[in-house]
Amino acid sequence: MCRRAFMPLILLVSLGLPTGALAVAPALGPSPPATQAQVAALEQAVRDAQSAGDNAWVLVSATLVLLMTAPGLTLFYGGLVRRKNILGTMMQSFAMMGLITVLWALVGYSLAFGAGNGFIGGFEHAFLRGVGLSPNPNYGGTIPEQTFMVYQLMFAIITPALITGAFAERVKFSSMAVFLSLWSLLVYCPMAHMIWGVGGVLNVAGGRWPVLDFAGGTVVHITSGVAALVCALYLGKRAGYPHENMPPHSMVLSFIGAALLWFGWFGFNAGSALNAGPLATSAFINTQFAAAAGAIGWVISEWLQNGKPTALGAISGAVAGLATVTQASGFVQPMSALGIGLVAGIVCSFMVFKIKRYFGYDDSLDAFGVHGVGGTIGALLTGLLASGAINAAFGKDATGKPIATGAIGGNWHQVVNQAVGIGTGWSLAILGTLLLLFAVDKTIGLRVSAADEAEGLDLSQHGEEGYDFNG
């Protein structure tokens, strides 16, 4: 026998014998109970390992999202206001960390994610009754439900915090605390329930108009951005706006804040996969790509218009890109994310330079211009660019191929669904915000007095000064 045939023969014998033995094995009867118990234990160990990876990532993501509120948003907004209002501005976001956490634990989580009806959850999980450490198959089947609950809490915290940008430098601390706490229950919880809660009318799984919202473009950015616009219009302009020059007192702080927002947004988007698998990777990549493209888009737009690219423009562009891709982050291809970011940077910069100036409202820190507009664009673009290959959100067909999620896959109807989500977000935000503004203003008053506004929030609301250069 020639040498060449020797190796294949060895392989054949060494593979063939055991295979043959296995083929013979079933004839010996069912495996003994000991083996069954071992297999069951192994299966449980595999599940535990998967759960450990997923839980670790979602817990880390929760901390990243909290980082976005403080110090991310506190520094970003804080640097943009005048020095006399730095503490007041930071306190508004920080207050949300305290108040919303308590409200969420008592009743907020239940209203958002309890079964309830199509529009709002019920009180079955008030005081987190029934929310334990075993997974809830509707909310991330491999992580403890309490992980899901605490992760969602961080979203509930940052959403009202975003609104503070619209009424910067002119609202009483007490009134703001009451207004935003009520807002989170009246506007955020229903919106979260409709899109993400079991049985929600806009839920991707079984909703009447399934809306694709991966990480909160509609739930967080549209609701807060539109609420911000309503607040800016209702409260009126800051004293001296727009004639008086009110530049940021510290672009350095704002820069650091924006960088922390970018960093934390990976938890916001990639964590929304609720697992540590490939979907988290997709969302992670889309987040980075959109942030970068957004910064570039805004910078180019500003450079062409005003002759110089500002630091404020660069960081605003990144934030615009991030806000816009939020809804699409777990549904689109990476190249789509680049496009989404670029569009966001250009459109949002236009909003802020031209449209805001034209209408003359004082959205002090551009909460509407960036989050409201970005979120709306993002929601629409999701309908256009969602790809079943990235996320088979509507399941697979008989041949195992993902059902088209967005227009590029042939599902043009999704754009209509997205529009329903956008319309619902806008309406709920406008109505809920107006109602609460009215109620709080007529009872305890929202705006600070002219004297307090001139003195600054730090002294008038908190009896403190942010900086002591003489100390």
Binding site: N245, M246, N306, V352, F353, K354, D366
Partner: protein, 112 residues
């Protein structure tokens, strides 16, 4: 005794200080100031809107000197603070009624 107040460009401070010390001036007070003369400000952009900043950073040097030091001091400042462009600043000279050293109650020219 004369008080010499000089408002100069911040970038010139080191050079002026050295020249004054070489000229024999022992004491001076430096203040950070903002202001403008006929110098126009510069423009800055905030959110796409252009603003004119007309309060420009300056440095003010104050010193009290003997009458016979006046020309020396003025020459030292002019030589080191001048760039030839608008924004170089100004020097003001005024009379001082008295000077007192806090440490030991010396009065008059010995206190300077």
């Amino acid at each position: 005794m004369l008080k010499v107040e000089a408002i100069i460009q911040p970038a010139k401070l080191d050079a002026v200080k050295e020249a004054l010390i070489e000229a024999g001036i022992d004491g001076m007070t430096i203040l950070e100031a903002r202001g403008h003369g006929r110098q126009k400000g510069h423009s800055e952009f905030y959110r796409g809107r252009e603003y004119t900043i007309d309060l420009l950073p300056k440095v003010k040097i104050e010193m009290v000197v003997n009458d016979d030091m006046k020309e020396k001091v003025v020459e030292a400042i002019l030589r080191t603070a001048r760039t030839g462009h608008i924004g170089d600043g100004k020097i003001f000279i005024s009379r001082v009624d008295d000077a007192i050293r806090i440490r030991n109650d010396e009065r008059g020219e010995t206190a300077i």
